[in-house]
C-alpha cells in the first residue's frame, strides 16, 4: 500500500498547491477588480476575465490530481496495486505542477491586478493587459507539460 500512499501524496501536492496558488492569485486580482468596479461598474465583464486568468493553475493542479487518481484506480475503477517506485514517480510528477502552480498563480494574480488597474484607466487596452498577464502562465503550462510527461512514464 505504500506505493498508493506516495501516489496520493502526489495528487494532494498537485491539487493542493495549485489550488492555493490560484486562490491567492484570484483573490489578489479580485481585490483590484472590486475596487475598479466600485468606480466603473460598466467594466465588470472585462475585469472579470482578467480576474479569472490566475484561476488556471488550480485547474492544472486538479487535472493532474485526477489523472493520478485514475492511474491508481481510485477514480472509475478498482484500486490497483501500486509498486513503491511507481508511487514515488507519480509523486515526483506532481511536484513541478504543484510548486510552479503555487508561485505562478500568486504572481499572475499580481500581474492581473495591475492589468485591471490598466483597464480602469484605459479600457481599450484591456486585451493587451490580458496578453501580458498570460505571459506569466507560460511557466505554469510548461510545468504542467513536464508533469504530464513524467506522469506518462511513471
Amino acid at each position: 500500500m505504500t506505493g498508493l500512499v506516495y501516489a496520493l501524496i502526489g495528487a494532494a501536492i498537485s491539487a493542493g498547491l495549485g489550488g492555493i496558488g490560484s486562490a491567492m492569485g484570484v483573490a489578489i486580482a479580485g481585490r483590484a477588480a472590486s475596487g475598479v468596479i466600485s468606480e466603473k461598474p460598466e467594466l465588470f465583464g472585462r475585469v472579470l476575465i482578467l480576474q479569472a486568468l490566475p484561476g488556471t493553475q488550480g485547474i492544472y493542479g486538479f487535472l493532474l490530481a485526477v489523472l493520478i487518481l485514475v492511474k491508481v484506480g481510485l477514480l472509475g475503477g478498482t484500486v490497483v496495486d501500486v509498486p513503491v517506485a511507481q508511487g514515488m514517480a507519480l509523486m515526483a510528477a506532481a511536484i513541478p505542477n504543484g510548486i510552479v502552480g503555487l508561485f505562478s498563480g500568486i504572481y499572475q494574480g499580481k500581474m492581473a491586478a495591475s492589468s485591471i488597474v490598466l483597464t480602469a484607466k484605459r479600457p481599450s487596452m484591456s486585451t493587451r493587459g490580458l496578453t501580458m498577464t498570460a505571459m506569466v502562465e507560460t511557466y505554469a503550462i510548461l510545468a504542467l507539460l513536464v508533469s504530464i510527461l513524467m506522469y506518462m512514464n511513471a
Binding site: 476575465i49 479569472a52 486568468l53 484561476g55 488556471t56 485547474i59 492544472y60 486538479f62 487535472l63 485526477v66 489523472l67 485514475v70 477514480l75 472509475g76 486585451t127 493587451r128 490580458l130 496578453t131 498570460a134 505571459m135 502562465e137 507560460t138 503550462i141 510548461l142 504542467l144 507539460l145 504530464i148 510527461l149 506518462m152
Partner: protein, 638 residues
C-alpha cells in the same frame, strides 16, 4: 492586403459648407486631416443628457425586448427632429412633474412620521409660542424615566400632558412657568428629554396630518396618471433614440474644422484609392465641388486601409489589438488569420465544443448584431468552431467522450476498420506525438514569419538584413529539421542539414556586423546574432502550450464525464449527472475559450509578429455617423 490611400482636398463654394460636411459624414469614406476640434459645449451636453434621461425612463415603462435591431432610412433620420423634440418635451414635462410629485410625497411622508406622535395635541403649535407667563416644551423622553421626571417636575410646578406613550418613548407637552422654565428644561434634558421642533402650524396637528395625507394621495394620483401617459409614449422610444444619435452627429458635424478662403471652403483628408471614384460620385449627387489630389509629405503619417475577404477581415481585430499595420509593410492578416484559426482549433479540439462555438456565436451575431471589434471577435470564434470540429474528429473527442466519425460512417457501409482518430493526445504515445506535432507547427509558423521577413526586406531593398535575419535562420531551422529527421531514420539527409546550418551560421557571422567598424565590434555583433538561437529555441518550445491547452480541456471534459458516470444509476442520479455535465462542460468550455483566445493571440504576437511585423500604423477612421442607439442607417433611396 493594404490599399493605397490618397490625400485629397475638397473645395466647395462658401454657401455649400454645411452640405459639404454633411455629404462627407454621410458617405463615411473620408478620414479628416484635422481631428474634430474642441469639446462639446455644455448646452449641447445638457440637451443630450436630457434626451438620454428620458430614454432611460421610457425604457423602464416598456416591455424589455432582447435582441432589438434598429434600422432607419437616412431621410427619416434627418427629418424627424421636430417630431422628436415634441416627444421629448412631452415626456420631459411628465417626468419633471413626476419627480416633483415624488419629492412632495416623500416630504409629506416624513412630516407625517414626525407629527404622528403629537396628533393628540389639543392646541395649534403656533399658539404655544411667545406666551407671557408660561413656556411650553413639546418632545419625548424614555418611558423608563417617566416616573422620575414627572416626580421631579411636580415639585417645580410644571404641568405635564402625555400625548402618546409606547414601550420606548413617552411623547409629552410640558408647560412650565416663565420664571423657572430653564430649570425645568435642564431637569428634563438630564433625564433624556428630546425637544421636538414642530412646524409653526396655525391649525391642529391632526388637521395637518390629514392635509398631508391628502397631498400624498394627490401626488400618487399624478404619478399614476403620468405613468400611464409615459407608458403610451414609451412605444415611440425609438424616435428618441434616433433623436439622440441625430443630435450627437449634428454636434459632431459642427466640430469639423472647415478652412475658408474668400469665396470657397475646403476640407483636407484621406480617401482609399479604390473608393475615390465612388466617393466622388456620391458627393456630386449632393453638391458641386472640386477634388484635388495632394502629394503627402514624408513626415505625414498616412493611415492604413486593409481590404481582405470575409474570413480574413474578421481577424484584423486581433492584429489591430497588437498594432495597426504600417502602409509600407506587408499586411499580416491573410497569413495570420489562417494560423490563428488552425491553432485555435487544436487548442479547443473537440467536436462538441466546436458545434457550441459555431451555434452560440453565429446566433449572437445574427440576433444581437454586435458592431465593430465585438462582431469580429464573435465571427472569429464562430469560424474557429469549424477547425475545432476538424481537430475534434482527428482527436476522437465529442464533449470528452471518445468518438470516431469514420467508424460510425463505416458501420453504415459494413466496414469495421475505418477510423478517423489519427492521434489521441490523452492516451499512450499520443501525448508525445502531439508534443512533437505542436513543436513542428511552431517551426512552420516561425518559418512562415521569416519568409515574410525576407519578402519585406527584399521589397525595401535591404538585402543584407534579409540575408542576416531572414534567410540565415530559415536555413538553420530547415537544417536542424532535416538533421532531426535523419536521426529518427526518416530522411537520410542529415549531412545536407548540417551544411545548411553551417551556411546559416556563416551568413549571420558575416552580415551581423555589416556596417560596423573594427574587427572587435564585428565580432560582438556576430556573437550577438548567433546568440539569437536561444530566442528561437524558447520560441519553438513555447508552442508546447498548444498541446498543454488541448490536453487540459480534454482531461477536464473527461473528468466531468467520469464524475457524471459515477453518480448516474438511479433517476435522482441521472438528474445530478445532468447537472454535473451541464455545469462542468459549460465551465470547461468558457475556460478553454478564454485560454485559447489569449494563448493563440500570444503565439501570433510574440512568436509570429516578433519576426517580421512592425505595425505602428495609423488606423483609417473615416468621418461618419457615430451611433449609440441606432444599429444602421440605410442610405439607399427607395
Amino acid at each position: 492586403m493594404i490599399v493605397p490611400v490618397k490625400k485629397i482636398r475638397l473645395i466647395a463654394p462658401n454657401k455649400d459648407k454645411d452640405i459639404l460636411v454633411r455629404s462627407i459624414q454621410r458617405s463615411g469614406k473620408m478620414m479628416l486631416f484635422n481631428e474634430l476640434a474642441g469639446s462639446i459645449s455644455s448646452d449641447d451636453q445638457q440637451h443630450l443628457k436630457r434626451i438620454e434621461k428620458n430614454i432611460v425612463i421610457l425604457e423602464k415603462h416598456r416591455k424589455k425586448k432582447f435582441f432589438e435591431y434598429h434600422e432607419v432610412d437616412i431621410d427619416q433620420f434627418n427629418d424627424s427632429e421636430q417630431e422628436a423634440q415634441n416627444l421629448l418635451d412631452t415626456a420631459d414635462a411628465l417626468v419633471v412633474e413626476n419627480e416633483a410629485a415624488t419629492k412632495e410625497k416623500e416630504y409629506a411622508t416624513k412630516q407625517i412620521e414626525l407629527l404622528t406622535p403629537y396628533v393628540n395635541l389639543s392646541v395649534a403649535p403656533a399658539d404655544l409660542i411667545g406666551l407671557n407667563y408660561v413656556r411650553t416644551y413639546v418632545g419625548y423622553w424614555p418611558t423608563q424615566n417617566a416616573t422620575v421626571i414627572t416626580d421631579k417636575l411636580s415639585t417645580k410646578s410644571a404641568y405635564v400632558e402625555t400625548l402618546l406613550a409606547d414601550d420606548v418613548n413617552q411623547y409629552v407637552a410640558v408647560i412650565a412657568l416663565s420664571s423657572n422654565h430653564q430649570d425645568v428644561y435642564d431637569t428634563m434634558a438630564a433625564n433624556g428629554f428630546v425637544l421636538e421642533k414642530l412646524p409653526e402650524l396655525t391649525h391642529l396637528v391632526a388637521d395637518e396630518v390629514a392635509l398631508l395625507e391628502e397631498k400624498i394621495s394627490t401626488a400618487a394620483n399624478t404619478i399614476e396618471t403620468n405613468d400611464v401617459k409615459l407608458k403610451e409614449l414609451s412605444d415611440s422610444v425609438n424616435l428618441l433614440k434616433m433623436y439622440y444619435d441625430y443630435d450627437y452627429n449634428k454636434i459632431l458635424k459642427q466640430k469639423v474644422e472647415v478652412l475658408a478662403t474668400e469665396k470657397t471652403v475646403y476640407i483636407e483628408g484621406w480617401v482609399a484609392e479604390d473608393e475615390l471614384e465612388a466617393f466622388g460620385a456620391e458627393l456630386s449627387e449632393m453638391l458641386a465641388y472640386d477634388l484635388e489630389i495632394l502629394e503627402s509629405t514624408e513626415e505625414e503619417k498616412v493611415p492604413t486601409v486593409t481590404r481582405n475577404n470575409r474570413f480574413v477581415r474578421q481577424f484584423e481585430t486581433i492584429t489591430n489589438m497588437f498594432s495597426v499595420p504600417d502602409p509600407n509593410e506587408i499586411d499580416p492578416n491573410p497569413v495570420m488569420s489562417v494560423w490563428y484559426w488552425f491553432i485555435f482549433g487544436i487548442m479547443m479540439g473537440d467536436v462538441g465544443y466546436g458545434i457550441v462555438l459555431i451555434t452560440l456565436f453565429s446566433l449572437f451575431v445574427k440576433f444581437k448584431r454586435p458592431k465593430g471589434a465585438l462582431r469580429q471577435l464573435a465571427m472569429i470564434f464562430a469560424f474557429s468552431g469549424v477547425s475545432a470540429i476538424i481537430f475534434g474528429v482527428i482527436f476522437g473527442s465529442f464533449f470528452g467522450y471518445s468518438f470516431d466519425l469514420f467508424k460510425i460512417i463505416g458501420s453504415l457501409f459494413g466496414q469495421t476498420h475505418w477510423t478517423s482518430v489519427v492521434v489521441n493526445p490523452m492516451e499512450g504515445d499520443g501525448t508525445l506525438i502531439m508534443l512533437v506535432a505542436s513543436l513542428v507547427i511552431g517551426v512552420l509558423h516561425i518559418l512562415n514569419a521569416l519568409v515574410l521577413k525576407v519578402i519585406l526586406e527584399f521589397r525595401r531593398k535591404n538585402y543584407v538584413e534579409a540575408l542576416n535575419s531572414g534567410i540565415s535562420w530559415i536555413l538553420i531551422l530547415l537544417g536542424i529539421s532535416l538533421y532531426v529527421l535523419d536521426m529518427i531514420d526518416l530522411i537520410p539527409l542529415g549531412i545536407v542539414g548540417l551544411i545548411m546550418i553551417g551556411i546559416g551560421a556563416v551568413l549571420i557571422i558575416i552580415f551581423s556586423g555589416y556596417g560596423k567598424k573594427g574587427i572587435f565590434s564585428k565580432a560582438v555583433s556576430a556573437f550577438g546574432g548567433l546568440y539569437g538561437a536561444s530566442g528561437y529555441l524558447s520560441d519553438i518550445l513555447s508552442y508546447s502550450r498548444i498541446l498543454a491547452l488541448s490536453l487540459s480541456s480534454g482531461v477536464i471534459a473527461f473528468t466531468m464525464n467520469m464524475l457524471a458516470g459515477m453518480v448516474s444509476g438511479s433517476i435522482i442520479g441521472y438528474f445530478f449527472a445532468m447537472i454535473i455535465l451541464i455545469v462542468g462542460h459549460f465551465f470547461n468550455f468558457a475556460m478553454g475559450l478564454l485560454s485559447a483566445y489569449v494563448h493563440d493571440g500570444r503565439l501570433q504576437y510574440l512568436e509570429f509578429f516578433g519576426k517580421f511585423y512592425e505595425g505602428d500604423g495609423l488606423a483609417f477612421t473615416p468621418f461618419t455617423y457615430d451611433l449609440k442607439y441606432i444599429d444602421k442607417i440605410n442610405k439607399e433611396k427607395k
